[in-house]
């Protein structure tokens, strides 16, 4: 089941990224999570009267793309089941698919190959698998949301443009990595520097002057929505509406850890996120600037009168938030590909996580985000995959009824 969904997603997403040929075609990708992409499988297309249109072998990425010179109509696509690698079997629907291709459409075809890595193991195994996936997703949300929470804590601003910091990070890394040919790890570091720069620019060019003018918090909130719209659609104009993968680490096989499987890039995501979050926590706990951040969050006037340069602390918070959001964006792009509105879609889950943990507290953002990530993934045990975000947002509302200050928040904050 999981594999089927995976293959379907790839069949739908990859062609959009390539967006090459005009006219009708059938296309798709043969792969499973354990075997990776399957190359060299013969794919044959016949038209409705049974005449063969074309026959090709899948390329190294497991893809096929067969143009249909006769245009729209009904076609049968079949694969050579004999030549599939060991362990990979056909799904319940067999080796043939009949599809109706509309005019001008590149019709995705999904064969739903199975490799026994999931579905057969019963629901406990699936639950463990989803728990691990959810942990990865929650850690990504946490990396992005720490900045959001700290910015709220130090300035009171509910920053609706924080999602765009995530998108900018992912897209800068994509340009540097794919167009510039720089290795992804270096590209990520560059993206984090750019992210810190964008954060600093946000503070210096917009929010500090607004604070000086005495702009109210509600007005500032609407300004951040304007900024979010402006950045999001400007990004779409520059980057386009496609979703694209990074150049490296894409065709990895899942490694079997007994009760769950994990690609190396997912494992690396978890490790990186945990290390970064621990470093952030240490910084907040031990360093002078970290203590200053918590002091400003707690009581800004008191911090200012104890000799803390509040504006400098806020600037550092913005830079840190920008860099972390950029890192989170790259980690998200690694698993879900890079898209122009990826940050905005994540923003609502970030808000859910931050609210769950307690608005304005850094550790609350960590705890809340991880819970939200795990909840969203685990909820697919009972609800369909395409409604899983709805579950996360529902959880947010339930939390506000039961404990509006969040897990780690204090009652006084919510007014």
């Amino acid at each position: 089941m999981l594999v089927g969904i995976l293959a379907a997603v790839f069949a739908a997403l990859l062609p959009a990224g390539i967006a090459s040929a005009e006219g009708e075609s059938v296309r798709g990708t043969l792969q499973t999570s354990r075997s990776g992409p399957i190359a060299g499988i013969e794919v044959t297309v016949t038209d409705s009267s049974g005449d063969e249109v074309d026959s090709v072998e899948t390329d190294d990425d497991g893809r096929f793309d067969i143009p249909l010179p006769d245009g729209a109509g009904q076609y049968t696509v079949s694969i050579d089941a004999e030549s599939l690698p060991d362990g990979v079997t056909l799904g319940p629907q067999g080796a043939e698919r009949t599809v109706t291709v509309d005019t001008g459409r590149q019709q995705p075809v999904n064969f739903g190959l199975q490799d026994g890595s999931s579905g057969g193991g019963g629901s406990t195994i699936r639950a463990v698998q989803l728990l691990v996936d959810g942990l990865r997703f929650g850690l990504i949300i946490a990396v992005c949301a720490v900045g959001l929470s700290l910015i709220f804590g130090t300035t009171g601003l509910t920053n609706f443009a924080h999602g765009e910091l995530v998108t900018i990070g992912a897209i800068v890394a994509w340009y540097v990595n794919v167009q510039g040919g720089v290795p992804l790890i270096a590209a990520t570091l560059i993206a984090m520097v750019v992210g810190a720069g964008v954060g600093a620019l946000n503070e210096l060019a917009l929010w500090r002057p607004l604070r000086r003018r005495g702009t109210g918090l509600v007005a500032a909130l609407v300004v951040s929505i304007g900024l979010s719209l402006l950045l999001r659609y400007a990004i779409q104009i520059v980057y386009g509406g496609f979703s694209n993968p990074y150049a490296e680490y894409q065709s990895q096989r899942a490694v079997d850890y007994g009760v769950f499987t994990l690609t190396n890039r997912a494992l690396a995501t978890i490790v990186i996120a945990v290390v970064v979050l621990v470093l952030v926590a240490l910084m907040l706990q031990r360093t002078k600037i970290g203590k200053a951040m918590r002091a400003v969050s707690d009581n800004r006037d008191l911090a200012a009168s104890s000799g803390i340069d509040v504006n400098r602390v806020i600037l550092v918070v913005w830079m840190m938030g920008g860099a972390l959001a950029a890192l989170g964006g790259v980690l998200l792009g690694l698993s879900d590909q890079v898209q122009w509105d990826m940050g905005f879609r994540l923003l609502l889950l970030m808000f859910a996580g931050v609210t769950l943990g307690g608005l304005g507290t850094a550790y609350g953002a960590l705890v809340g985000s991880v819970i939200i990530g795990v909840f969203v993934q685990m909820s697919t045990l009972v609800i369909p995959d395409d409604t899983k975000y709805v579950g996360g947002l529902l959880l947010l509302i339930v939390i506000l009824v039961i404990r509006p200050q969040g897990i780690l928040g204090s009652r006084a904050r919510i007014g």
Partner: protein, 332 residues
């Protein structure tokens, strides 16, 4: 030159058409929430979606009469407003903001999901539910009419006339309510909640009533939109529309009866004019294709709205008609 006149005329038509009515009704609702009561509702589009789908589902899925569909849409919006208000209205303003925006996005995802397809027809949406309404038009809906140099089909004209009547009635209602004692309490809540509480008013109840009233205006807007386009598709009800309505409201002036209406007309005119004129310039080769292609123009409008919203809030938060003292809101 003829391009410019064409673009101006298309802009005028758009500023008077059903889309302007849609945004005007959304913005009237937001005005009740944000302008008068100080509630930050960023999910107005959810109420509009329930309104539009209320008609669409009732008529084309359940086979009910059109007017029953209108009631279903309004009832759905009222229920959603109560559900949203219940947990959030006791909390600080930005909690309502986060919950409403999350609900709007969640509902849209739910309506377009595979599991909702039997009811909402998923991403394709529903159509063919507005014939009985269009048939009420006192003129022939098939022929085209020319008004002020713009061309309207009979059906479009009928939707626009009914829609503007609806807007006028809504404005009248808001005007009457806001000069009543009830309206004065709302404005007092916006200025100082604690003071109103000290006077013995139940702030929570007043906020809830305002939320429900604004939600009904939003649902009416969604109905006009669904009837105007003749279809109800979940992805028409994107979150960005809420912010367009906010832009219209702030442009016209919040906490003014006619602010949202004038703002919507001007906003739609500017957006459509910029859209058409840019496309004409690109197809004439005045703007080189490398700089901006015609597929990018649809995004430009949102960039413009974003810039406009920021500049308005920073330099003229009261918009065209507003009073600066009334819009200096603070969340705490």
């Amino acid at each position: 030159m003829s391009d410019l006149i064409d673009a101006l005329l298309i802009g005028v038509k758009s500023g008077l058409g059903f889309q302007a009515i849609f945004f005007a009704l959304l913005a009237i609702g937001i005005n009740v929430h944000f302008g008068y009561t100080g509630l930050l509702n960023f999910g107005q589009i959810a109420f509009a979606m329930l309104g539009g789908f209320g008609i669409a589902i009732s008529v084309s899925q359940w086979g009910l009469p059109f007017w029953v569909g209108v009631l279903v849409g309004i009832a759905a919006a009222v229920v959603l407003a109560l559900l949203l208000g219940l947990p959030t209205l006791r909390l600080r303003a930005d909690y309502l903001a986060i919950v409403t925006i999350a609900t709007a996005e969640g509902l849209r995802l739910l309506f377009r999901s595979v599991s909702a397809t039997p009811v909402t027809n998923g991403t394709r949406g529903l159509s063919a539910f507005n014939q009985s309404f269009i048939a009420l038009a006192p003129w022939d809906t098939q022929t085209r009419y020319r008004i002020l140099g713009t061309s309207w089909s009979g059906g479009e004209l009928w939707v626009a006339v009914v829609g503007w009547v609806l807007v006028a009635l809504s404005c009248l209602l808001v005007w009457a309510l806001m000069r009543s004692p009830w309206g004065r309490v709302l404005k007092a809540i916006r200025e100082d909640e604690d003071a109103v509480r000290a006077l013995g008013k139940n702030v929570y109840n007043y906020k809830m009533q305002a939320l429900v009233l604004g939600a009904v205006f939003g649902a009416l807007g969604g109905m006009v939109y669904a009837v105007g386009t003749g279809s109800a598709i979940p992805d028409q009800y994107q979150n960005a529309n809420t912010f367009l309505a906010y832009a219209a409201l702030i442009l016209g002036g919040a906490a003014r009866v006619l602010g949202p209406v004038v703002g919507s007309i001007i906003l739609l005119f500017i957006l459509q004019f910029a859209d058409t004129f840019l496309r004409a310039l690109i197809s004439n080769g005045v703007i080189p294709d490398a700089l901006l292609s015609s597929t990018d123009v649809a995004q430009i409008r949102f960039v413009l709205v974003g810039i406009g919203l920021m500049l308005l809030l920073v330099f003229r938060p009261q918009g065209i008609f507003g009073d600066r003292r009334e819009v200096m809101l603070d969340a705490r």
